[in-house]
């Protein structure tokens, strides 16, 4: 099935879950892979339906990735009114694959740009999500509510900070080892 | 400390065997050399020990070389060929390297036991060499206990290995030691039964007499145990060989030192000269048990088409006998090496399975068959 059909089918079975559908020809959000944006509180339900629905049957959660878009303050221009802060966001991108029906799908959950954005976990639906969410927590700082074991996976247990964030400052030293 | 212990235990072994000998089963050649008095036992024990250490210590040099070259050729690579002609001095160089290494004992290991363990395994094997007949007179301790004493001394190795594993204060070592204890002890059962078959056939435990009794017959081979009681003689040979593979911890039964699983098994924490003791023990044991099975099943010093009197009579014959025994034993050692580099490792529960469910019942059947052989054929009127 193509993206349109998948998105429509999803909208049918989870009414109101899809916040936005971004196609290939969207001028503001250019993308080579069309995706849907799902509300954070509906993501578990959507994942469940994706897995079980007979037409969709997405049996494989390929990856969960986080993207950091920090707040942007455009430069003030002479003669123009005060620029407004463009609020940033955290995106959690889910790539799905169906080995049964042989189609792909991309979903996103947009979270506000807090210090610790929270998103419900889908590890009860897809066991593969367990390690992916741990990695997203470790590197991007997105907390997954309900995760059975949310701890760092790639960095050391006592690491401070979330490295993939845009405002991350590399530490000058670690346990007495200097990084200069 | 284990340095001092090895000669002591080996000499004591030899002495104990001499004390156990029952009188006219043949003079210990060395005792005769030093005059017949009981006090001659001490110098003869010391000389005997030096001889054993020379042979059994020198043999592993050749065997390790054979293993490494053999492994190399099987794996399509040359093997060591730099140090000395054909790499013959490689083992000596490696031995020297091991000797000058720092002696590391883990801080929380049990010091005394840690140091004792390699000595125990080596002493057991070296002591057993005394009973191996190279020819009619070239046997260090000619005792009627022969093969029984050999296997009793080899069992010392089990104790040494378990002590080594436990004293290392390392969980991997303990695992290796536990597996090893289970394996070695279990395989002594089919081994013992096959030896029992041989003992029953020859009527003696004395290895020298077993070899002597295998002389003559059709083509000089008929009396070899492997050709007797067809097919049960051959079956006991195979079972005994497999059981000895397991006893000496050789692949495919090398779980106790399973390198890819337990790092190095029970000798993980051993380095330097202590490790070289375990190494020496493995190759000495390989040769020893091959020698034993040659004497019980493969005719000892007898060659086909050569008369037994010649082999046991003249000096030339005696030298030839020694060469024959050594060659046959080396051939069996070569088969051990060949098997090691060809087959994967068997898992511990499958090892136990093999022993108790297959080898032991089959060896029992062989024992029964050999016992009933003559009466059976007699009843059928064919003998």
């Amino acid at each position: 099935m193509e993206f349109e059909q998948l998105a429509n089918r999803l909208a049918e079975i989870c009414p109101g879950a899809i916040v936005e559908k971004v196609d290939l020809d969207n001028p503001d959000k250019p993308t080579k892979d069309p995706y849907v944006v799902v509300a954070a509180d509906r993501i578990v339900e959507v994942m469940d339906k994706l897995q079980t629905d007979a037409d969709l049957r997405f049996d494989c959660l390929l990856s969960i990735g986080g993207v950091d878009y920090p707040d942007v303050m455009p430069k003030a221009k002479k003669g123009q009114p005060e620029p407004e802060l463009i609020p940033g966001r955290f995106e959690v991108v889910y790539h799905m694959l169906s080995t049964i029906k042989n189609h792909r799908f991309v979903l996103k959950v947009l979270l506000p740009h807090d210090d610790e954005p929270v998103c419900p976990t889908v590890s009860n639906v897809y066991s593969a999500a367990n390690w992916h969410e741990r990695e997203t927590w470790d590197l991007m700082g997105i907390r997954f509510e309900g995760h059975p074991d949310l701890r760092r996976i790639l960095c050391c247990e006592d690491w401070v900070g979330h490295p993939l964030r845009k405002d991350y400052v590399f530490p000058k030293e670690y346990h007495g080892i200097s990084a200069e | 400390m284990s340095f001092g212990l090895v000669p002591l235990i080996a000499a004591l072994n030899v002495r104990a065997a001499e004390v156990a000998q029952a009188g006219d089963a043949g003079e210990s050649a060395l005792r005769g050399l030093f005059g017949g008095s009981p006090w001659a036992a001490i110098p003869s024990a010391i000389v005997g020990f030096i001889l054993i250490f020379a042979v059994a210590g020198g043999l592993p040099v050749i065997l390790v070389w054979a293993e490494r070259r053999g492994a190399g050729r099987i794996q399509q690579r040359p093997g060591p060929n730099r140090v000395g002609p054909f790499g013959l001095f490689q083992t000596i160089a490696d031995g020297f390297k091991l000797m000058v290494k720092e002696d590391i004992i883990p801080a929380r290991a049990s010091r005394a036991l840690f140091m004792l363990a390699p000595g125990i395994v080596l002493a057991g094997v070296l002591g057993a060499f005394a009973m191996l007949p190279l020819s009619k007179n070239a046997i260090l301790v000619d005792t009627d206990l022969g093969v029984f004493l050999i296997f009793a001394l080899l069992s010392l190795g089990v104790i040494g290995v378990v002590i080594a594993g436990w004293a290392s204060n390392n969980k991997w070592s303990i695992l290796g030691a536990m597996r090893e204890a289970a394996q070695m002890v279990s395989y002594e059962i089919p081994l013992g039964i096959c030896v029992l078959v041989a003992v029953m056939h020859y009527g003696t435990l004395n290895l020298r007499e077993m070899c002597a009794m295998q002389a003559g017959g059709f083509a000089g081979i008929e009396n070899w145990l492997i050709c007797q009681y067809i097919p049960f003689g051959a079956i006991t040979f195979v079972i005994m060989y497999v059981a000895l593979l397991a006893n000496t911890k050789r692949a495919p039964f090398d779980l106790p030192e399973a390198e890819s699983e337990l790092v190095s098994g029970f000798h993980t924490e051993y380095s330097g000269i202590r490790f070289s003791f375990f190494f020496l023990e493995e190759y000495a044991a390989m040769f020893l048990v091959s020698g034993v099975i040659v004497c019980t099943h493969l005719g000892g010093w007898n060659l086909p088409f050569v008369s037994g009197e010649f082999m046991t009579g003249s000096l030339v014959g005696q030298i030839l006998s020694a060469l024959v025994v050594i060659t046959k034993a080396l051939f069996l050692v070569w088969v051990m090496i060949w098997v090691r580099w060809t087959l994967p490792r068997i898992r511990i529960d499958q090892v136990m399975n093999l022993c108790y469910k297959y080898l032991t019942p089959i060896s029992f059947v062989c024992l029964l068959a050999v016992t009933l052989w003559k009466p059976f054929w007699g009843w059928l009127g064919l003998m």
Partner: protein, 390 residues
């Protein structure tokens, strides 16, 4: 009359509380058979494992963060380093993602060469998996036999790009060099010789009774469990699911070549056991030889020497967009999700390493197996820690 005094009894049996403790063993970062720096903390009751906790991250080199600060061409050598045994495939995956994001055209000759390199690398990677699996189980010789052929492949790669393991040969828009003279003939010769040698490996290890006993019915992963844990590649096919990206969603010119997709059938034991996964890899090597031959013939027939780089600006700046491309690595689906913002570096680069997803199953799969089986299972999943940690 009991002479033991005050002893707890149930009926006629004495019930004693023998306090034993499960042993906690560290299959540490340095271990001969964890295929890299993987740490598994195992709690074992004798030989049976009661719980296993894998720890990864020992070789984390923040490739994703580096991707945000170097240009696209400069990032290609970093892609080599995650799955260092299949470096060509990593290069290709990343370059395809960049090409999709930037709408770059790749000339046909470059595509055929990429396919040849990809399949040869698949053979090399599977040969190493075959060899090290033998060593894990105690068979030391197949490793050297496999490496004999692997050396040939590595020398082929050395001829084409100068490197044996970390190629950095494939760049966005094409490949770096054209093939030297005689290279295609040598590749065809290799394919012929390799098919003969493959029979030796098959007899030596695959059909060996002891090997079969060690791997059949061990580490059985039913297809539902495999799907749930996001398994892809030979592991998933070993569990009986016929899904190969080259066949289902062909990229490059895989739709123009014919090949079979081996699937685990439970030939020796249950579907999805270690033997099945291992056998899928063995068979895939033969299929890769088939594909390589067809690619070489097509390349010689259809393309002209020299056209190996498409039209591409000197500094590649990609307009803001997002793209995901997944390709079939020897270990599974290697995915690159790239977010661009008009600069010459990526804004965000997410790498989906198949080994990372495949290994997450250990915690659920190991309890109940024996220690020796743990080694067999980890070996059969065939992970590369560089890809797990990136």
């Amino acid at each position: 009359m009991s002479q033991l005094g005050d002893v707890p009894t149930v009926g006629n049996e004495v019930v004693l509380d023998v306090r034993t403790q499960d042993m906690e063993i560290n299959m540490g970062p340095q271990h001969p058979s964890t295929h890299g720096v993987l740490r598994v903390v195992i709690t074992a009751d004798g030989e049976i494992i009661t719980s296993a906790r894998p720890y990864v991250g020992y070789i984390h080199r923040c490739a994703e963060k580096i991707g945000e600060s170097v240009t696209y061409e400069m990032f290609v050598p970093y892609t080599d380093r995650y799955d260092y045994l299949a470096a060509m495939n990593n290069n290709i995956g990343f370059c395809m993602a960049v090409e999709k994001a930037a709408d770059l055209e790749v000339p046909p000759r470059a595509v055929w060469i990429r396919m040849i390199c990809s399949e040869l690398n698949r053979i090399a990677s599977h040969l190493l998996a075959f060899g090290t699996y033998g060593i894990d189980l105690g068979a030391f010789t197949p490793f050297l036999y496999g490496f004999r052929e692997r050396e040939w492949i590595l020398s082929l790669f050395e001829k084409i790009c100068g490197a044996r393991l970390m190629y950095s040969y494939v760049f966005p828009g094409g490949v770096a060099n054209d093939v030297p003279d005689g290279w295609f003939d040598e590749v065809l010769e290799f394919c012929d010789v390799f098919e003969k040698k493959w029979r030796d490996y098959d007899k030596l290890l695959t059909r060996n009774k002891i090997f079969i006993e060690r791997t059949k019915n061990v580490g059985v992963v039913p297809p539902e469990m495999a799907r749930e844990y996001g398994w892809t590649g030979p592991c998933l096919r070993g569990s009986g699911v016929r899904y190969d990206l080259r066949e289902a969603q062909p990229y490059m010119y895989y739709d123009q070549v014919s090949f079979d997709v081996p699937v685990g059938r439970g030939e020796m034991g249950t579907v999805g056991d270690c033997w099945d996964r291992y056998n899928v890899r063995m068979e895939e090597m033969l299929q890769a030889t088939r594909i390589t031959r067809q690619c070489v013939q097509a390349c010689i027939r259809d393309t002209n020497p020299g056209e190996i780089q498409g039209d591409k600006p000197k500094t590649l700046k990609v307009k803001p967009t997002e793209a995901y491309v997944g390709i079939e690595n020897p270990r599974g689906e290697l995915g690159h999700f790239i977010v661009t913002d008009g600069k010459d570096t990526a804004y965000r680069l997410k790498v989906r390493g198949p080994s990372f997803c495949n290994i997450s199953i250990l915690e659920a799969m190991l309890p109940g197996t024996m220690l020796a089986d743990a080694v067999a299972i980890i070996g059969s999943i065939d992970i590369v820690l560089g890809e797990v940690d990136r």
